[in-house]
Assembly symmetry: C2
Homo-oligomer: 248 residues x 2
């Protein structure tokens, strides 16, 4: 594995979700300017580790493009993914100095980062930021608890359907797609990563995906390209009540 500290830092990305979505929606212009001054970009290749659990973490940031995962590992190697980071998701916690989980780029990844100290300074000067962070953290907490239901009580087939519906939803909101008509996207995860997210083995993931395909719930082109002809049907398979249910 490449050394995760050998990172390109660049300035050219113009689409910073921190600025637009995560933190500054309601800040005054001069605070926005200050944010611009302290921000920088980090790029990772697919497979690279962004940070190891327990490592000192001196930045916070958000995903600009690509996908990263948050995972926990037991001593004997069993691993559980505890979060999926898609563009606009925030990483890192103000007030904590070390990472609680392994963060791994599963695709090529660009993050917009701020060194923690100046970011925290700004947080104390700008109450909106703390409030916005609280809101985002509450969303993450809800997503984690929703996932506890998936892990604790759903069957393998329901787990797969739940994961597909979450990815489909996030992907749709990312690309501002219409919600009717078939949904098409590329799976950003290997079968093994899906298994780690769902508390299954990769064989079971493969079998259940094949079963869903055979039953016409999804269509597959190659191993990763997925078409969902009927989202309602998928949500039924996931065991969600059609309207409420899965978030983020």
């Amino acid at each position: 594995m490449l050394n995760e500290r050998s990172l390109a830092i660049s300035q050219e990305c113009g689409d910073c979700p921190i600025r637009h979505k995560a933190v500054c929606a309601r800040c005054e212009t001069d605070e926005l300017e200050r944010l611009e001054e302290i921000k920088y970009y980090r790029k990772f290749e697919a497979g690279q580790t962004v940070i190891w659990s327990g490592d000192r973490m001196d930045f916070v940031g958000s995903v600009v493009s690509g996908i990263a995962t948050l995972t926990q590992t037991m001593e004997d190697g069993r691993t559980q993914m505890v979060g999926l980071l898609l563009p606009s998701d925030f990483v890192g916690r103000p007030g904590r100095s070390s990472a609680a989980y392994d963060v791994v780029a599963t695709t090529d990844l660009v993050m917009c980062c701020f060194r923690k100290a100046p970011f925290e300074d700004m947080m104390t000067r700008t109450p909106h930021i703390a409030e916005r962070l609280l809101e985002m953290t509450l969303d993450e907490l809800d997503a984690a608890r929703e996932w506890m239901l998936v892990l604790g009580r759903k069957t393998a087939r329901e787990k797969i359907a739940s994961l597909l519906s979450i990815i489909a939803r996030r992907d749709a909101s990312l690309h501002l797609r219409r919600s009717d008509g078939p949904i098409v996207f590329d799976l950003p995860l290997t079968r093994e990563a899906m298994a780690d997210y769902l508390g299954l083995t990769l064989e079971t993931v493969s079998r259940q995906i094949s079963a869903l395909r055979k039953d016409g719930v999804i269509a597959l082109e190659g191993k990763r390209h997925v078409t969902i002809p009927d989202m309602e049907r998928l949500l039924e398979e996931a065991g969600d009540d059609a309207d409420g249910g899965m978030l983020a």
Copy 2:
């Protein structure tokens, strides 16, 4: 079931964790006074529902004494507990108007509450409060993610040991016990509630508790009174690395 709105509201509880731990540790005296003015108490009997998922929730608060659970239920009745509320834990989210989960008192319960509107007013006036809430929410998020590992990857025996070690730890910190020597406490949950927390059936919970007793990892007096002769041993059984691991 009793109507959860027929509640005693009283003023006599002198040990309010909101004041001491949850919110006001660093606030100025006059804000403390204002908090005192808007707070009130609600009492529930064991088995009463504090609030139903989806109900309008016009208060926030924290547990003074007793235990409550946060649960999610699927249409077909499968339920998953997503949180265990012990004294000093916070309930409710500023900025959200309805409850996301069922909150049920599993023992007699006293909560210290604030109507949401004045509480939020005070939050905007007192940045410390938003920061403290962010910190607490991050702790809850870590606990939820830790629990995802339990649900997704641990065996039934490890799940039981994990739950017992969490309860033991919380109970110890509540009563300021020494950490060496045998730990003694009463299980605040039925076998069924434990099963709902662990993603198991109540039969499996019962069997695994019997097995842990037979193996000398725990001792039982009656159905609920637990003695843990060796905490290290229990943590091993839980699959945690002895030092780090389980939080809160």
